[in-house]
């Protein structure tokens, strides 16, 4: 009996296919409904908020502004100090707008009403007078520091850091060739299908929050800090969550306002973002790298020097501080280049604050380095595969410490590239495309390579509990929200305990039921929560052996365990799994459980992906096929892993070709969901996903690495490369629009 390695069906699908799932908005409570009045100005002084008409409306309970709300919202939204060192940062206080508004769309008043229709009516009835102040919308203007987003900071630069390794100037001056590069990842919106949602209930002592989040435990600590309540009095419950992609590891002022209102009124308050509100809440990406590269005539990349500008928007969100500090050290990627000088700057503008999105930092770093490697190939007339083989870290150099100190754990990068090219039929597809182009069709094939960093610590919690009927409940600190990781973890536990998977239930997402947890993001969950679950299950099994031994009046060393039976090695006496479980609850020992806190470390999956693109006469590009070859360590459930490749790949199609969060000159988000162009089934490619024939394990007990973000990390680079093959033009930004293609 072995489950791991097989495409075991997902355990909890029935409720989703029958409509019995429970997302935040599906929870029935006797709650009031919140609505938000928003600023229509990028920067302005709030002169007056006229609420009289709204207050007269039937069903309107209250209208709050920052003046009242910020008495309850004591602390501001701050950076994720688990991963972000706040010391080098300049951070403004971010709560509910009070006195000034800093971005177009910022909530400036809150309505509490009996239902959402009334809340919406009341929002429309409120008249806000805002006197315009000078605003800076673009990064270039903001960099001049003439108009400041936050006067008190004295600058628009939130962070400036130098990432230097080796001697980039010397390497550049001795290079055979030098080329200038400019590479941009434009502003996007993660767009999980379930918009953000929250219900907050306060009974005068305890605060219970149902929250569409990826990080219930961190949210609890943040709410504790922000509202000045002890963690023991806050419970955060994550119900079913309809996707996150990083955007739900993020806290926004609207949510703080909902909590504050529930505390103030002593009643439950709920809010579900409309799609338009969701789009304003979770802008992400937008950074530009400008610099110079040096390489040898044989294709060896020897130097990268440049400046990375990362937009922050009007405030520093919980997660955006990651980007300026993770992108630079990941720029060398899987390549041996050792001389780099990267200045990283994070810049405030009067625009919607920026948060993270699937892959956060690695898509940017990968796009930058893959464009650079392809530039070398083009300048020298070399083949894409050849130039990569020349530069990839070799197996005899593993583990390899990159110039910024990141230790790449295991892998054979060149072999994977060669295998990938064969398995994905890259050469054949290239030849086919060349033939098609001769016939006048605009088709192209491109590939890109990636090295991901994931499995982020600092730790993960797991508890395995055997109930008195012998079934098993595993609580994990990871918080899957669609990935299906819970099924893979059940597979691991079933194998470890050698019992049928049907007897295992995985739970997560309730800060009171699960004592600790880090959450799900950064492709960390299977490796780290899965390993924690193996470990706590092992410990439970040891406890069960002891119970069996005691019951058989034997030493624990005399007990063997196999396939649900505890057997005395010498005399062959047996106890079944259920008997031992029952015995454990018979009074001698209070039940059977074990918990672990597993420390985590980073691990580095890698792979090569390929895209086939076709462009029509109007410059509209379609990705026809997408193929992936990844080494993600041991694959626990191939179907789930493949699902991540498909989903990330489709988001890559969006990022590369269609999705752009346009901000107009007033700082206003100038797209709706109807013209933001998330790919539909028509734009999505056909997928072929393969995993390395010989995997390179991680140090985790699962031996797995992580795959959740892989195709969004590398996909945009592969798709843009295919587009270059199709059109013969050069593109160094995402998305590449029809205008760019026709230009």
């Amino acid at each position: 009996m072995s489950y791991s390695g097989k495409s075991v069906k997902r355990l909890y699908d029935d409720k989703f296919v029958t409509g019995r799932s429970t997302y935040v908005d599906d929870i029935k409570t006797n709650a009031l409904y919140a609505g938000f009045v928003r600023s229509n100005m990028a920067h302005g002084k709030i002169k007056a908020i006229n609420v009289d008409d709204a207050m007269k409306m039937n069903g309107v309970v209250a209208v709050f502004t920052g003046n009242e709300l910020n008495q309850i919202i004591k602390g501001g939204i701050g950076p994720w100090t688990t991963y972000i060192d706040p010391r080098p940062w300049k951070i403004p206080l971010w709560r509910f707008a009070q006195g000034e508004t800093k971005y177009n769309g910022e909530p400036v008043a809150m309505v509490i009403a009996s239902d959402k229709y009334t809340a919406e009516d009341a929002v429309k009835a409120i008249n806000v007078e805002i006197e315009p102040l000078d605003a800076v919308i673009g990064m270039d203007e903001a960099k001049q520091d003439k108009v400041l987003v936050h006067k008190e900071l004295g600058t628009n630069f939130g962070f400036v850091g130098d990432f230097n390794a080796g001697d980039a100037d010397k390497a550049l001056s001795s290079a055979d060739r030098k080329v200038e590069v400019e590479i941009a990842n434009n502003r996007l919106i993660p767009s999980p299908m379930e918009p953000r949602g929250i219900i907050s209930q306060y009974d005068g002592v305890n605060l219970t929050i149902w929250y569409s989040t990826q990080i219930p435990h961190f949210a609890r600590s943040e709410f504790s800090r922000i509202f000045g309540l002890p963690e023991s009095r806050i419970r955060v419950v994550m119900p079913d969550v309809g996707g996150g992609f990083g955007s739900k590891a993020h806290i926004i002022p609207e949510e703080l306002a909902v909590i504050a209102a529930s505390m103030r009124l002593g009643k439950a308050v709920r809010w579900t973002a409309t799609r338009t509100e969701e789009m304003m809440a979770t802008n992400s990406r937008h950074n530009v790298f400008k610099g110079e590269i040096g390489f040898k005539n044989d294709g060896t990349l020897v130097a990268i020097k440049g400046t990375l500008d990362v937009e922050l928007g009007a405030y520093l969100t919980y997660t955006e501080g990651l980007q300026p500090t993770i992108i630079p050290p990941m720029i060398p990627g899987p390549y041996r280049v050792r001389d780099l000088a990267i200045k990283s700057r994070a810049i405030y503008t009067n625009t919607i604050p920026i948060t993270m999105y699937r892959g956060a930092s690695r898509p940017e770093a990968t796009f930058i380095i893959e464009r650079i490697i392809s530039t070398v190939a083009d300048e020298l007339g070399m083949d894409d595969v050849e130039v990569r083989l020349r530069n990839l870290v070799r197996e005899d150099q593993m583990p390899y410490t990159n110039p910024f100190g990141l230790k790449y754990d295991t892998g054979d990068y060149p072999t994977l590239l060669k295998e990938g090219v064969r398995v994905m039929e890259y050469q054949k597809m290239k030849e086919w495309a060349a033939e098609e182009r001769k016939k006048g069709k605009k088709v192209g094939v491109g590939l890109a390579y990636y090295l991901e960093i994931c499995g982020f610590g600092p730790y993960e919690f797991s508890e395995t509990r055997v109930t008195d009927d012998g079934s098993v409940i595993v609580s994990i600190g990871g918080t899957p929200h669609g990935q299906g990781t819970e099924t893979a973890i059940a597979q691991l536990v079933a194998d470890e305990l050698q019992i049928p998977i049907e007897r295992i239930k995985i739970t997560w997402g309730d800060s009171e039921a699960v004592p600790a947890g880090t959450g799900t993001y950064g492709s960390r969950t299977l490796a780290i929560a899965g390993s924690a679950a193996i470990s706590s299950s092992r410990q439970v099994l040891e406890k069960m052996k002891r119970v069996a031994a005691r019951s058989m009046k034997a030493d624990v060393e005399e007990i063997d365990y196999k396939n649900g039976e505890f057997v005395h090695k010498k005399d062959g006496r047996k106890m079944t799994w259920n008997e031992v479980a029952k015995e454990a609850y018979s009074g001698r020992e209070p039940g059977l459980s074990a918990s672990v806190m597993l420390e985590g470390d980073v691990t580095f999956p890698y792979g090569v992906h390929m895209a086939v693109v076709e462009v029509d006469d109007y410059g509209i590009a379609r990705v026809k096929e997408y193929r992936a070859y990844d080494d993600i360590g041991r694959v626990i459930n191939p179907a789930l892993a493949e699902g991540q490749v498909h989903g990330g790949g489709t988001q890559a199609v969006g990022q590369a070709l269609y999705e752009l969060a346009i901000i107009n000159e007033n700082g206003q988000l100038a797209v709706t969901y109807a013209d933001y162009y998330v790919p539909t089934a028509v734009e999505a490619p056909k997928f072929k996903s393969y995993f390395a024939e010989k995997y390179h394990p991680s140090a985790y007990l699962t031996k797995s690495k992580g795959v959740g973000e892989a195709s969004l990390i590398v996909g945009p680079a592969a798709i843009v490369r295919a587009l270059e093959d199709a059109t013969g033009k050069r593109f160094n930004k995402t998305p590449v629009t029809p205008e760019d293609i026709l230009k």
């Binding site: 699908d13 296919v17 029935k28 309809g242 996707g243 409309t274 799609r275 699902g643 539909t680």
Partner: protein, 162 residues
């Protein structure tokens, strides 16, 4: 039907085989009526632009985005939601095919997607992969990349003997 603000109108709707008589505000959307008045929360709201299809239901056998229709427009009509596609013990062929083909991840688009699949498979005629993609292009899934959804619908179509 013209109405004053706050006015309520009586409607009669058959939903998943059950007759309901309810009073609603004339401006109430069908999706809110289903979710709030009838507590049928399987139908989801993903957008405010009729773009996503998470709210898809069948009205008199036709697939409709229930965020684009008023509850009063469903007066005297028959509505089928995701909850009406299975009995407690048996999944529909399409629902089973979605499970078997890993055609969902977060599950938020799933109800709308399955209702739409029921609609396009009604006539039991063979569909090509391209046709399936075309017929579900009003339903956005942000998680799966559609490949497995398309596979599930093709699979269901075969199982239904198309």
């Amino acid at each position: 039907m013209l109405a004053e603000p706050g006015q309520r109108v009586k409607i009669k709707v058959k939903v998943n085989g059950v007759e309901y008589e309810e009073e609603v505000e004339p401006r109430k959307l069908l999706v809110d009526f289903l979710r709030e008045n009838l507590n049928l929360t399987g139908t989801k709201i993903g957008c405010d632009t009729t773009t996503c299809g998470a709210c898809t239901v069948l009205v008199n056998g036709k697939s409709v985005k229930s965020c684009t229709m008023l509850a009063v427009q469903a007066n005297n009509k028959e509505v089928v939601t995701i909850e009406g596609l299975s009995t407690d013990s048996r999944l529909s062929v399409v629902q089973q095919a979605f499970k078997d083909n890993f055609a969902l991840q977060c599950g938020f688009c799933t109800a709308g997607m399955i209702v739409q699949a029921h609609y396009i498979l009604k006539e039991k005629k063979p569909l090509s992969e391209e046709e399936v993609r075309d017929l579900i292009h009003g339903n956005i899934c942000r998680c799966t990349g559609y490949q497995n959804i398309v596979n599930a619908i093709m699979d269901a179509s075969r199982r239904m003997g198309a």
